[in-house]
């Protein structure tokens, strides 16, 4: 997004940069949350059956 800005002649203000940083962090947080969520779904769906494996 920042490179987009430069290519169009817009200069982000400090407030813009702060907002962008917060948004980027929120997106990163959401992605980490999603990854954890998919791990949890897998673990919950395995259930207790995972312990009954043959030797």
């Amino acid at each position: 997004m920042m490179s987009d800005l430069k290519s169009t002649g817009l200069t982000p203000s400090p407030a813009d940069k702060r907002r962008q940083k917060t948004r980027s962090l929120a997106i990163a947080g959401a992605l980490v949350f999603l990854a954890i969520l998919f791990y949890l779904i897998t673990i919950f769906k395995m259930g207790a059956g995972i312990l009954n494996k043959g030797i």
């Binding site: 997004m1 203000s13 999603l34």
Partner: protein
């Protein structure tokens, strides 16, 4: 350039919005989401069967995010009319803090991820139902009905009534008469709730060109419709007891709530065209929300009590 804080060397079009994380959360219509979450939870808990509590929590989260996606897509499409109404003019898109394309992308992403995750966590029938609910709210209500017919809120209200059925489907993989009854309660509840608002916001809706019932059929017809729907709601609220899904304890609360809704509707009629009418409309709008929350809370508690043999 309202809300765009970037300094400009030369005109460059819309490349960066000034939207904060809070603005993106506002796109999800958090207040509407609470109703979606709660009714979906009741549908899920009332349904027969068992599920890992973690998966149940993830299912509710998916339904909430799906509801939020609907809100974001609605705000993307309706930005032009939102800008004309005082109640909605400061929403993130008409307020200029979020670009329409950002709202569209955000909504589509959330819709896809919520449907996919619900399918992974529970079953694909529930996921399909959630996808259909989002489609119904965005395409059928927002894009098609809202600007064309005063019955917009009647038919479109189905979208807000689906969440308990989606919650039920997440648990059972299907639907049943009991989940359809929960749908019916919210479906019948929706028109009087929003028409009470439409009566006091008639000028706003008129300015935006949204054909709400008071603008098209007049205030008197709207007040009568609010009363008829409230009577129908009082009866529909009793169906869980009549059909044996809930106990007489729930039935007693449903009678009280139904009578209260009819009284509120009659109060609007009684105060028609007086200075006290707006207050009566606001009371109907606020307390009908409370009615629905309490009714579904009692459905839930009664169901749990019945499942545990308390009565």
């Amino acid at each position: 350039m309202n809300g765009r804080a970037t300094t400009v060397d030369e005109p460059a079009g819309d490349v960066l919005s000034a939207g904060s994380v809070r603005d993106f959360i506002a796109l999800l219509k958090p207040r509407v989401m609470t109703l979606v979450v709660f009714t979906a939870l009741v549908g899920l808990v009332a349904a027969p069967g068992t599920m890992h509590p973690g998966l149940a929590a993830i299912a509710i989260l998916c339904i909430a995010v799906g509801g939020g996606a609907s809100g974001a897509l609605n705000m993307w499409y309706d930005a032009d009319i939102d800008a004309k109404m005082r109640r909605t003019a400061d929403r993130p898109v008409p307020g200029g803090r979020i670009l329409p394309g950002e709202a569209l992308g955000f909504g589509l992403f959330l819709a896809a991820i919520s449907v996919f995750t619900l399918g992974m966590a529970t079953n694909w029938f529930a996921a399909g139902f959630l996808a259909f609910t989002i489609f119904f709210y965005v395409a059928v209500y927002t894009m098609w009905l809202k600007r064309r017919t005063p019955q917009n809120i009647v038919i479109g209200g189905a979208a807000g009534a689906f969440p308990p059925m989606v919650g039920w489907a997440a648990m059972t993989g299907g639907m049943s008469l009991e989940s359809i009854v929960m749908f019916a309660i919210i479906f019948i509840w929706t028109p009087p709730h929003f028409w009470a608002l439409a009566l006091v916001k008639k000028a706003d809706y008129g300015a935006a060109g949204v054909p709400m019932l008071p603008n098209v059929a007049g205030d008197a017809a709207t007040r009568r419709q609010i009363l008829w729907y409230s009577i129908a709601l009082a009866f529909t609220g009793l169906l869980p007891t009549i059909l044996g899904f809930n106990s007489l304890v729930y039935g007693a609360f449903a009678v009280l709530g139904g009578v209260w809704m009819i009284w509120l509707a009659a109060d609007i009629l009684r105060k028609a065209d007086t200075a006290a009418e707006p207050k009566a409309c606001w009371r109907m709008f606020g307390q009908s929300m409370l009615y629905l929350f309490v009714l579904f809370a009692i459905i839930l508690l009664d169901k749990l009590a019945m499942q545990r043999g308390f009565w």
